[in-house]
Structure formats: structure tokens, C-alpha cells
Subunit: 90 residues, 2 copies
């Protein structure tokens, strides 16, 4: 059994209001970053799982996203490639 790290990007779905992103965009403009057109704020979750293969690690984390990590009504999620962790989290 090996340990894999699977990063997950969770973002508000297109069209869903993102007040946190709007607040950040406003703050950036106040700081002088006039080139900002839009900001969306989501979550970046890294999950370390014990699995026999990268494919089964991905499948497990996909299940976690569907059950708990992401709200499918308002959020989209994308899994990045799993990376093998030689000796656990540093």
C-alpha cells in the first residue's frame, strides 16, 4: 500500500455569484491593480490517500469530492495527477 497525494481544484461554477471573488477584485483595484478584470475564489484541497495505484487513489478522491468536498450544485471540481509520496507528508 502506497501513499498518493491528489490535489483537487474546487471552483464556483460559471454563472454562480461569487461575492468573495468580487470583494477580492475590489480590494486589488483599491491597491492599484487596475488591470484586474475578474476574480473567482475557490478551494485547493490536497488529499493524501493510501492506495495500491494512482488510478485507485484518483477514484477514491473522486468519490470524496462527490460525497463531501465539493457541492455539485454550485461548484465544479478537477483532480490533478496523483503524485507518489515516498515517506508521507513532509
Amino acid at each position: 500500500m502506497k501513499s498518493y497525494r491528489v490535489p483537487v481544484q474546487i471552483v464556483p461554477r460559471p454563472g454562480i455569484l461569487d461575492p468573495q471573488g468580487a470583494a477580492v477584485a475590489g480590494a486589488l483595484r483599491t491597491l492599484g491593480f487596475d488591470s484586474v478584470a475578474d476574480v473567482r475564489v475557490g478551494r485547493f484541497v490536497t488529499v493524501d490517500v493510501n492506495a495500491d495505484s494512482a488510478a485507485s487513489a484518483t477514484a477514491a478522491v473522486r468519490g470524496m469530492c462527490e460525497k463531501l468536498l465539493a457541492n455539485p450544485v454550485i461548484e465544479d471540481f478537477a483532480l490533478e495527477e496523483p503524485t507518489l509520496q515516498p515517506d508521507g507528508r513532509p
Copy 2:
């Protein structure tokens, strides 16, 4: 002037306590995901900026991270490759 989308990953630095990640790991185990070893929760921010080139878009967003988006004491950030947005955010 073109519009670029620059995704940013912001994660708790190694060694920094992440109570949100610990809570999520506990919730996943309660749901039966026994293979979970560790979870870290950060933010995933996508910034749309007007810039002349991908390089200048990246430089602008790096400045935003250093000034506002990330807290360098407790967080690391990583910028992904900018993507050209043909007609603004969908």
C-alpha cells in the same frame, strides 16, 4: 491589450497547523473513507487580468499574491500558466 486568466494555488505552508484540513480528514473517515492519511485545505484563486503578454500577466498576479492574496507567513502560493481569454469570462 488582451485578457489572461491566471490560476493561483494557495496552500498552508508545511508544518503550519491546518485545523480545516484536519476537520475534513475526520469527516471523510466518518463517511467510511478509511484510506485518508491527511488533508490540507487551501484556496484556488483565478484572476483575469488585462495585459500585453502572458509574462506581464504572470508578473502582475505574482505582485497581487505578495500584496494581498497570500499570507507569506503561513501560506505558499504557486501560479499556473496563464491562458488567453478570447472574449472574457464565459
